[in-house]
């Protein structure tokens, strides 16, 4: 019989589609870790999230209420799932659900379910709406932006920045607008999809680099792996990417963690200008969808998070393999209507 620790880990964001959520890559990284045995519980929002049907990765999936249903609904559902599954740890991976999970994290803990999440203050500090002032306070280069609540305010913002400008949704998506008409169109689309406010940001041209990192909540960096997107989809998602050797990017992540005492995984989206200046374009408060590359290059961030969440002392990673690549692909998973029916009608599979 195995003497390894047996863990039940619940993971969200099973939407492993063309614009993928991080759930499946997180699970894949966890499965790579030999230090514990695990049962993976998927937490889904919709019946067609591919991860629900990936039985080699996800042992069982339960549907949970949308973030808009509020914390009480979420807590009650998670407690009910916990009665069956005895969950050790939950790893939420969507920006939009983090607020609720953080709010109920103490109650989850009381019920035996650990999390390893930033505080609400940390979450707010890196919010798109506050990022510029955050950068100013801690001496990070961040593009200037304007938060607007009505379409006619675009004109004011445009007076401050030259075209092109970047129009960003509250939670996700950004488009580059070259004219006022394009900016207005983007505003309406992003408002309809993600709500207000919409952010108008100064356009910075350069090379797009991302850093996946993990903080221990005490100001120490456990891991940081920089990656350059080699191919980008029309939704701005990486189709292929490669790990980079650049101490300045790792130092940037270290400074971010020291400044925020960030707890958990996050992603820095950086634009490095021709002059070499790294601008922080966005800070995503959770693991990115390319997180498996960290495990493949020698720094298994999801596994390190699990260990920290369970109270183990984790030694910071020192090295990773430079030039490790990922290339994303699509694959038609075949299943039967009874499986779809099961998750749709009963909320579990």
């Amino acid at each position: 019989m195995s003497t390894k620790k047996q863990l039940v880990i619940a993971v969200t964001a099973l939407n492993n589609i063309d614009s993928p959520g991080p759930g499946i890559p997180v699970i894949r990284a966890l499965r790579d870790c030999d230090d514990f045995e695990m049962r993976i519980i998927g937490l889904s929002y919709e019946s067609l999230e591919p991860g629900i049907y990936m039985k080699d990765l996800v042992d069982k999936t339960y549907q949970i209420p949308y973030p808009s249903a509020g914390t009480e609904m979420l807590l009650s559902r998670l407690l009910a799932i916990n009665d069956i599954e005895k969950i050790d740890l939950i790893i939420p991976n969507f920006d939009a659900e983090l607020y609720n999970f953080i709010k109920i994290s103490d109650k989850l803990k009381d019920a035996g379910m650990a999390t390893f999440l930033p505080t609400l203050d940390q979450l707010d500090a890196r919010d798109k709406i506050n990022l510029f002032s955050f950068g100013k306070k801690h001496d990070f280069k961040v593009p200037e932006d304007k938060t607007i609540y009505s379409v006619d305010k675009i004109l004011d913002a445009v007076n401050d920045f030259e075209f092109p400008i970047v129009v960003k949704g509250k939670y996700y998506e950004a488009t580059v607008a070259y004219t006022i008409e394009q900016a207005e169109k983007s505003f309406h689309r992003l408002n309809a999809k993600w709500g207000l406010p919409v952010i108008i940001q100064q356009f910075i041209s350069g090379s797009e680099i991302n850093v996946a990192a993990l903080g221990d909540g005490k100001g120490n960096m456990i891991s940081a792996v920089p990656m350059r997107k080699l191919y980008i989809t029309d939704k701005g998602k990486a189709w292929a990417g490669i790990t980079l050797q650049d101490e300045s990017l790792i130092e940037l992540a270290r400074r971010f963690i020291a400044a925020t005492k960030w707890k958990g995984g996050f992603e820095l989206e950086i634009m490095r200008t021709k002059e070499g200046d790294p601008y922080i374009m966005e800070v995503n408060p959770r693991f990115p969808a390319w997180i498996y590359l960290t495990a493949a290059s020698g720094q298994n961030q999801p596994a390190a998070l699990v260990k920290m969440a369970l109270g183990e002392n984790v030694v910071p990673y020192k090295t990773y393999e430079v030039g490790k690549m990922f290339i994303r692909y699509s694959w038609d998973l075949i299943t039967n209507i009874d499986q779809f029916q099961q998750i749709s009608a009963f909320g579990e599979l």
Binding site: S207, M227, R228, L230, G241, I242, L244, Q245, D246, V322, G323
Partner: protein
């Protein structure tokens, strides 16, 4: 006399292969080069001087000395433009 516009040392972290593939781990950029350029890259990597490289190329190929100089100069310009040389 070969006129060098730039220093000719490849950045130390640049990876090259015999097939002519070049990878810059700091930027993620990669390049393919033709067989002669691949030879020159390996010679640069081995810290040969430009004069030595010229002589080696002349000994291996039937080519005018002035042509080698011109091509080497062009090639180094490419390397510089792609941020592969030590400044």
């Amino acid at each position: 006399m070969l006129k060098l516009k730039f220093a000719m040392k490849l950045k130390s972290n640049i990876a090259t292969s015999e097939s002519g593939f070049v990878f810059n781990p700091a930027t993620g950029d990669s390049f393919s080069s033709n067989p002669v350029a691949a030879e020159i890259l390996l010679l640069l990597k081995d810290n040969n001087s430009l004069k030595e490289i010229k002589q080696i190329i002349l000994s291996r190929y039937e080519v005018e000395s002035s042509q080698v100089e011109k091509d080497l100069d062009d090639f180094l310009t490419h390397l510089k433009e792609n941020n592969l040389l030590e400044l």
